[in-house]
Point group: C2
Chain length 771, copies 2
């Protein structure tokens, strides 16, 4: 009565895979890539709970104590992630500040005598740092290149990119960041810190790195992708919290930008992690205050306190602010588009030529950056110090040292400063501080700001996508604050009566560019407020962000989405596409044939099926006594591989070993089925089976997921999408319409109370009504 090829399971399975081209391979052929041509393969994660017998057994064994232990470990890990990420951030900051400090100290002392010698030292110093970074990345940790946020976003969306959460990536990210940021490239250390936090979290979750013998058994509590996802979310938030010293911003970033699923319990834990980071960073900075950390402490973390800036705003200013928003949206969208093209070209042509090309490329970029940042200020004429400012706390030119406004660089007279050098020949943190600074009206000429904007924008575009760890936050703030200050200068000239600070416009510009490029909203707003320590500008930042995001959205997607797409990370947006409303689940499946397994399957069949296709989930069909077929569950490829490798569940009989739930002991621990993060897992080619083994059978019933989510064939795809996306699934079975309904579940059926709260149950039951 039902389709014939279901009558005998083994034959069916054989038939199906031999007769039909494999759908996944087809997809690969279509895009013209074989499996091994690209190192960065990605794979879906299993966020669904596989309720097989092993799981049920583990659940049954788990006492109250175990549950408590489990919760305790989660919180302990949140603490460790906070401490680890905080320390990593402090380490990176101390190193970067010191390298940059030595560099500028040396250069400034040499240029007193010879500008040429200073120039060469400056270039070499930068080149050395940048080379160390690219060397580490290309030779040791290729996954550490770039910001890492698209990959982490993908991971939390359900796609694992191989290599992103390994120990070597963590190391590469930390040391690579130090080199690339210290070497003065137009990139930041904030994105990499998010990746660092995620790596720390993931490594903790799997109990350390197995490859480097750094794993610990007692830490191996979390073996499912689900638990790791929560930890990685904590790690992300910790990274942002550490990068910007913005704990609330960190939580919101994790919430808005990276995670795809969110629960309020998780929010609470993420919040805790961020608070720990804040305390760790604060403690470290307090310790460094006494000068124990070299140049660190005076520059340090990016906190651009503008609390002495503009406190109020008038309605006349809303128009120029809106203009800043529009500029931000346009420049941000352009940035995304340019980097998209360049990255595309790099990935498909340049970087295919090997790591030597990557290294040469980065060194060239470093050379150009050094030449521009040293050379351009040389060409710029110095300006005389403003007279009014002399009484204020800001000195002009700044006293010898590395920090402050009004840099004396290649100036003849004593009371002069070089405005281009103030922003260009400086660490980015200090340049931003100078751009944001209040009470320094007309410090910069429009010409200098425009020159800087064009040059730095180009550098940022070119640098993005090279083989070094690279964040986009700080360059974005640099670009934005430059044109923001430019607009501010005009506003100051136009509304002379108002108390307007150019620094405020610089801040708004920074927000607008980040909004136009990254398209974040609440989290970016909070981060900007936290790093500038000024709550009063909140509504203005909101306004600017609203405009810049809206303008940017008119052109393309956000930076991370574009990059994720380019890297082959198939992110599922939170919302189904509009045309999905008109499609059904059946149409989405296409006419690919499903590869079934029977309940008891011959080992040889398993091997050949697994070899012949790349499917990751196989429905398992059984037959009832009266001959009806019945879908009894879904078997994952990775679980099958574990079974094949261990061999303990092989049996001689082709009959089910015993009715399900019967006496046969489960020989597998639930944790054995867990796949390590970011690794390729076991491959079918690695498993060696004797010919005796191949003649044996496996009863899949205890190992399959007995209740995968199902949808009727004619459900609209947008509803299927919601199901898939909201629950973070990997497979949904499309089944025919049911012939009968066993029951309806409504809210009332799900209101089950704990036995402990019997008193409240009583209270409740008096008022629960029919729903």
């Amino acid at each position: 009565m039902l389709s014939n090829h279901l009558q005998n399971g083994i034959e069916t399975a054989r038939l199906v895979w031999s007769r039909l081209p494999n759908s996944d391979d087809e997809a690969l052929d279509e895009v013209g890539l074989s499996k091994k041509s690209d190192g960065s393969r990605s794979e879906s994660l299993d966020y669904e709970v596989i309720e097989n017998n092993a799981y049920r057994e583990e659940q049954a064994q788990r006492g109250k104590l175990m549950v408590g232990y489990y919760v305790g470990v989660k919180w302990f890990f949140a603490l460790l992630i906070g401490i680890g990420t905080g320390l990593a951030a402090v380490f990176i900051n101390i190193s970067v500040e010191n390298f940059a400090g030595w560099k500028f100290q040396l250069t400034f002392s040499i240029i007193q005598k010879s500008y040429v010698a200073g120039f060469l030292v400056y270039i070499l110093f930068n080149l050395l740092l940048v080379f160390s970074s690219v060397y580490i990345v290309t030779q040791f940790a290729p996954a550490a290149a770039g910001s890492g946020i698209p990959e982490i976003k993908g991971y939390l969306n359900g796609v694992d990119t191989h290599g992103i959460l390994l120990f070597r990536t963590l190391i590469g990210k930390i040391f690579g960041s130090i080199g690339s940021v210290g070497g003065g490239l137009a990139l930041g250390k904030e994105g990499p810190l998010v990746h660092t936090g995620a790596c720390i979290a993931s490594l903790l979750g799997q109990g350390g790195s197995t490859k480097y013998h750094l794993s610990s058994r007692w830490l191996q509590v979390f073996k499912t992708d689900r638990d790791r996802r929560d930890l990685v979310t904590c790690g992300c938030a910790a990274g942002v919290a550490a990068a910007f010293r913005a704990p609330v911003g960190g939580v919101l970033f994790a919430l808005e930008e990276v995670t795809s699923w969110w629960r309020s319990q998780l929010m609470w834990r993420v919040f805790f992690t961020s608070a720990v980071v804040a305390v760790v960073v604060r403690t470290a900075m307090g310790w460094c205050k006494s000068g124990k950390c070299g140049h660190f402490g005076s520059g340090g973390f990016i906190i651009w306190d503008i609390s002495d800036g503009q406190e109020d705003y008038s309605f006349e200013e809303l128009l120029p602010m809106a203009i800043i928003g529009v500029i931000g949206g346009l420049l941000g969208a352009l940035f995304n588009q340019l980097t998209l093209y360049i990255t595309y070209w790099r990935r498909n042509y340049l970087h295919k030529k090997g790591s030597r090309v990557k290294m040469i490329e980065v060194c060239l970029v470093s050379l150009i950056t050094s030449v521009i940042s040293f050379g351009l200020p040389l060409l710029r004429k110095c300006s005389p110090c403003p007279e009014v400012e002399l009484n204020s706390s800001i000195e002009c030119p700044r006293p010898p040292g590395m920090y402050g406004n009004y840099v004396n660089f290649y100036c003849g007279k004593d009371k002069e400063y070089n405005d281009l050098a103030t922003i260009f020949f400086n660490t980015q943190d200090d340049a931003i501080r100078n751009l944001f600074s209040a009470k320094t009206i007309h410090e910069y000429s429009a010409q200098s700001l425009l020159t800087f904007l064009v040059m730095f924008y180009s550098l940022a575009v070119v640098t993005f996508g090279t083989a070094v760890p690279a964040g986009q936050f700080v360059p974005g703030i640099m670009i934005g604050s430059t044109y923001g200050r430019l607009v501010g200068m005009f506003v100051v000239n136009f509304y002379k009566k108002l108390n307007i600070e150019e620094g405020t416009y610089a801040l708004l510009g920074a927000a607008s560019f980040l909004g136009g490029s990254m398209r974040m909203t609440v989290s970016l707003c909070v981060i900007m407020v936290e790093i500038t320590n000024n709550l009063k500008l909140l509504p203005l930042i909101m306004l600017v962000l609203l405009i810049s995001k809206a303008v940017g959205d008119a052109f393309n997607e956000g930076l991370y989405e574009e990059q994720a797409r380019l890297r082959g990370i198939p992110l599922l947006e939170s919302r189904p596409k509009y045309q999905m409303r008109k499609m059904t689940a059946k149409e989405a499946c296409g006419n690919k044939k499903v590869v079934y397994f029977p309940r008891v399957v011959k080992v040889a069949d398993v091997v050949s099926i697994l070899q012949s296709n790349e499917h990751n989930g196989f429905p398992v069909i059984d037959h009832t006594r009266n001959g009806e077929s019945l879908v009894i569950g879904l078997m994952l490829r990775s679980h099958l591989l574990v079974l094949l490798q261990s061999k303990v569940d092989f049996q001689h009989s082709p009959l089910p070993s015993d009715p399900r739930g019967g006496g046969k002991p489960i020989r597998h621990n639930f944790t054995e089925f867990a796949k390590p993060v970011s690794s390729k897992g076991i491959s079918i080619d690695d498993i060696h089976l004797s010919s005796d083994d191949l003649e044996m059978y496996i009863d899949l019933a205890p190992f399959l997921n007995p209740s995968p989510y199902v949808v009727p064939e004619d459900m609209s795809l947008s509803k299927v999408y919601n199901l898939f996306r909201q629950l973070g699934l990997r497979h949904i079975l499309v089944v025919p319409r049911a012939s009968r309904v066993i029951g309806l579940i409504t809210r009332k059926d799900l209101l089950i109370e704990d036995n402990e709260n019997s008193e409240t149950v009583e209270l409740q039951s008096t008022s629960v009504r029919s729903l």
Copy 2:
């Protein structure tokens, strides 16, 4: 082959409902309540998209322009909600400040002559205001009593409590708040403002109030519960943003505390609404600065700027801060428990006696509050003004007027002040400002603070749950800051060398009590930071909140959850209960029989089935040509009622009018099926059908939801719960296992690109790999 009673639909349906006791009625009997005994009936909302023919037709007709219009209206509504809520907040604040201002002005001027006369005037003034509040609430808008947050939380969780979002509730809330807060009761106006925002949003969403002829046709774009949910979320955030002038806090509150589903697009809109509120409130306050708004402006919105307070903290302080957290957790949990008992008693005994009792109760509470707040300071001996403080900006005693520290109340000498009056005989906003104030060490004696704590705590417990609009934020801050300052006094004495401000401890105390009672985390933290305008205390607030929430959670649930439970609002937590892992979907359904409909059903049958039970969803069964039965969808009671009322789809023939999707025009607009918010909708008793009508038939196929979500019968209940909760469903069909699998949907199948982005598709397709 399948169960017999499916053979003929009509008979089946009749049989089932007549033979079996109705499950919903059973539930009602169990809890001993009939349907009409309680006015506040709640009903589940339909957040699922009903993809019936009317919907499909509307989708098909909808052009690009319509989609654009729809999005535009959504943003326009977000703007209107922001403006409306902002103005409502300004209105409430101006009124409250003015009433309270007049009251204190009058009282202070009279007590110069006679304390007895002043006392009487004070009592009468309060009584009058409170009476006006309780009169409005009991006579006109019963749903306006209380804070409204539990009900709104319930609404966003999927349960509609009748009456909460009506126009009269909005009016009652606004004017009731003015009376109760102006009348000096121990309650706040913040919770009611959240409810006010939600009401405004909901009324906008349905195009105004139909009952009061305030509706407008062109506003009636949003007719589904789904769209309204988004608007109400915006309204909530706007309420918080307006109450605390905390736009980010508002967004987070909506996210953390009230909403159950969240999408990042919504976050963006909510954020916009909050920004609008901030601008509206700021503009209004700027306008009021010149003295146009009477007493408003000097007190105004609760912003307790402590930016001149303690900026740093040392590790020794962490212990007393942790103690504050523990106290907060304990007192908060106690508060929740006490209010739970009192509310339970009120609901089940006191308030059943009618609105006269409610009015008397509130007036009594007002009387007691007045007597205590006036009388206790009288009994307190005045303290001499501190000498050191005389040079600072803070005067002692404060100059004649209503604001400031060091109140001279019943003091003999000139240079004396009454510390109890400083906090007790004052508006709550000013009292909190005085408690938070820095540079006023030892202003309060421990005895006064302790007296105030005990008295105010008791008053807050007693006042909670009376028939007036009542928020818990400000009373919570009052209680918390009192014991916080108490701890701070000891710390100041103990660590004399450190620069410690008692005001900082008061702030931490406030955070701890709110954390211990409401159990919010991130949002509360951000709100505290925004209202105190001090970012530096963020980690400390986080620490205190972590501790107080953990301590509180050890005892009971959060205030809003407890209250929602008590009010019969069955909130579904974000997480399934632990024992659900061991239950199956089938077990959850119990052995209730399902009431089916056949595809074509006799009108008389529909009526009798609807009359005989209270089910809200009915599976519809059809038969294929070879006699197999097939579940073709789910029919909602409310849609059936619409069909019965309009009668246009009645037909004479008991045969399907035509194959589905065929030529018969849909006579119903999709919006006709929408049910007004917070109303009881149509009842079966309101529909009058002639005997001819009863003999006719309806073909349900075009009106049913053809693809409700289904789960196999043996899926574990925790997975079902996740499905239900994450997607915000109302019904899930439990079906037998499928006999075959039509296909598997994986991530790859859901990656459908817009046609416009063909360029990016190309980029993507080169790197998408098999998942």
